[in-house]
């Protein structure tokens, strides 16, 4: 709607004009130049807008910092949607299963087969049985790893073990590739880093898996069906 030359502009037209909106057209500008009351009115509207744009009184920055801490502390646990939880579980489960499967194979080579032969199934587990074994064996693997871990040098931080940690007695020179798990967990496999984190997390994943409803568990198992590990 363009302004009719000669007519006093409405407040809306003034606002649009101040906004830089060209709806009012060039006629408005000419009118304001010629009409003192309208020009004064436009200036008053500008002042109102200017006042509205003024910053409020901000509290001391320390209050904002304290508020941030309160906000983070008040955050409830995230309720991840079913799909998200499933996806997250599968992604981490895939890594964990790879690491744990390798660990189980390593252990099986060194030790006599444990009474529960499900924990030493092939690294290419059959379908659902192998996957369930991986899930259930994960807890056993985690506990065994934790036991071995606890016998490690006290100054070796968790998660730092591996071939890249020069301070950790990774591989004894005289030790062949097969080592006894009775020794410190001086694993030198590249899977070390993932095993550290995922072995511990895998214990939680067992709980997560158990916490899924039946439909989600089936979906997870379906996704892991045919999962294989290549060493």
């Amino acid at each position: 709607m363009s302004h009719r030359l000669g007519a006093h502009p409405s407040l809306e037209e003034l606002l649009d004009h101040i906004d830089g909106d060209r709806r009012a057209g060039d006629g408005l500008e000419a009118h304001l130049e010629a009409c003192d009351p309208c020009r004064d009115r436009a200036e008053e509207v500008r002042q109102t807008l200017h006042g509205l744009s003024a910053e409020p009184d901000f509290p001391d920055p320390a209050r904002f910092a304290e508020q941030r801490e309160r906000i983070v502390e008040a955050l409830p646990p995230r309720r991840v949607p079913t799909g998200g939880r499933r996806a997250r579980w599968m992604t981490t489960a895939t890594l964990a299963a790879a690491a744990v499967a390798a660990f189980l194979v390593f252990r099986a080579v060194d030790r006599a087969p444990p009474s529960d032969d499900r924990a030493t199934r092939s690294v290419e587990p059959r379908m659902d049985v192998g996957v369930v074994a991986a899930v259930e064996g994960r807890r056993a693997a985690t506990e065994a790893y934790a036991d071995a871990f606890s016998s490690s040098p006290p100054d070796a931080p968790l998660g730092s073990r591996g071939a890249t940690d020069a301070t950790f007695p990774v591989v004894r020179e005289s030790t062949p590739s097969v080592r006894s798990m009775d020794e410190a967990p001086a694993l030198s496999s590249p899977l070390d880093a993932s095993l550290d984190g995922t072995a511990l997390e895998s214990a939680l994943l067992v709980e997560d898996f158990a916490g899924l409803d039946a439909a989600d568990r089936e979906a997870v198992l379906d996704e892991l069906e045919g999962f294989t590990v290549t060493l």
Partner: protein
């Protein structure tokens, strides 16, 4: 881009990433709420509530609009609710604290649009107009952005803004002696 990355991490439960989001938007959210409510302490409370609520509803954020737009929507609606619950300053405060009815001529321009006077007049506006006028005049948002925040149309946002300015101007003109 930074917000997108932080939101993704926050969705996975990373509260430190969310803390970074809070840091990025906290002041602006507070400022808008302070302008709307006219109450700094209330604005701080609402700011905290807005961020906690946003965390709880992160799955609802689809990423089609900016995170700040979505966050503003939550914050502004909280302000609405607060005003509905009667936490706003009532119009009577404006009645009791009118500016000097007979200011000296050289003080008239200063008294005419003092920040305090304008703030009180803002508080007499209906909730929607108050939100629109603050989001437009203070936050500098476009009518499209305002419409997204308030879940309305651009046309409605524009009309609300005009009405709000008209009410502010009218209340000022009524209070200003001839």
């Amino acid at each position: 881009m930074e917000d997108d990355r932080l939101v993704r991490r926050a969705r996975e439960g990373d509260d430190r990433a969310y803390g970074r989001l809070v840091e990025r938007h906290q002041r602006r959210v507070y400022a808008t709420l302070a302008k709307m409510t006219g109450d700094g302490d209330l604005a701080m409370d609402l700011t905290q509530e807005a961020f906690v609520r946003a965390w709880e509803r992160l799955e609802d954020f689809e990423g089609r609009a900016a995170f700040s737009t979505w966050l503003y929507r939550i914050a502004v609606r909280l302000a609405y609710d607060a005003m509905e619950r009667g936490k706003r300053r009532v119009a009577a405060d404006v009645e009791h604290d009118r500016p000097d009815p007979d200011p000296a001529p050289d003080d008239r321009m200063v008294a005419s649009e003092t920040a305090l006077d304008l703030r009180r007049r803002i508080e007499t506006l209906p909730g929607l107009q108050r939100a629109v006028v603050i989001l437009r005049a203070y936050d500098g948002l476009s009518y499209r952005e305002i419409a997204a925040i308030l879940d309305t149309t651009e046309g409605s946002a524009r009309v609300s803004f005009h009405h709000a300015i008209r009410r502010l101007r009218t209340s000022f003109e009524e209070a200003t002696p001839e």
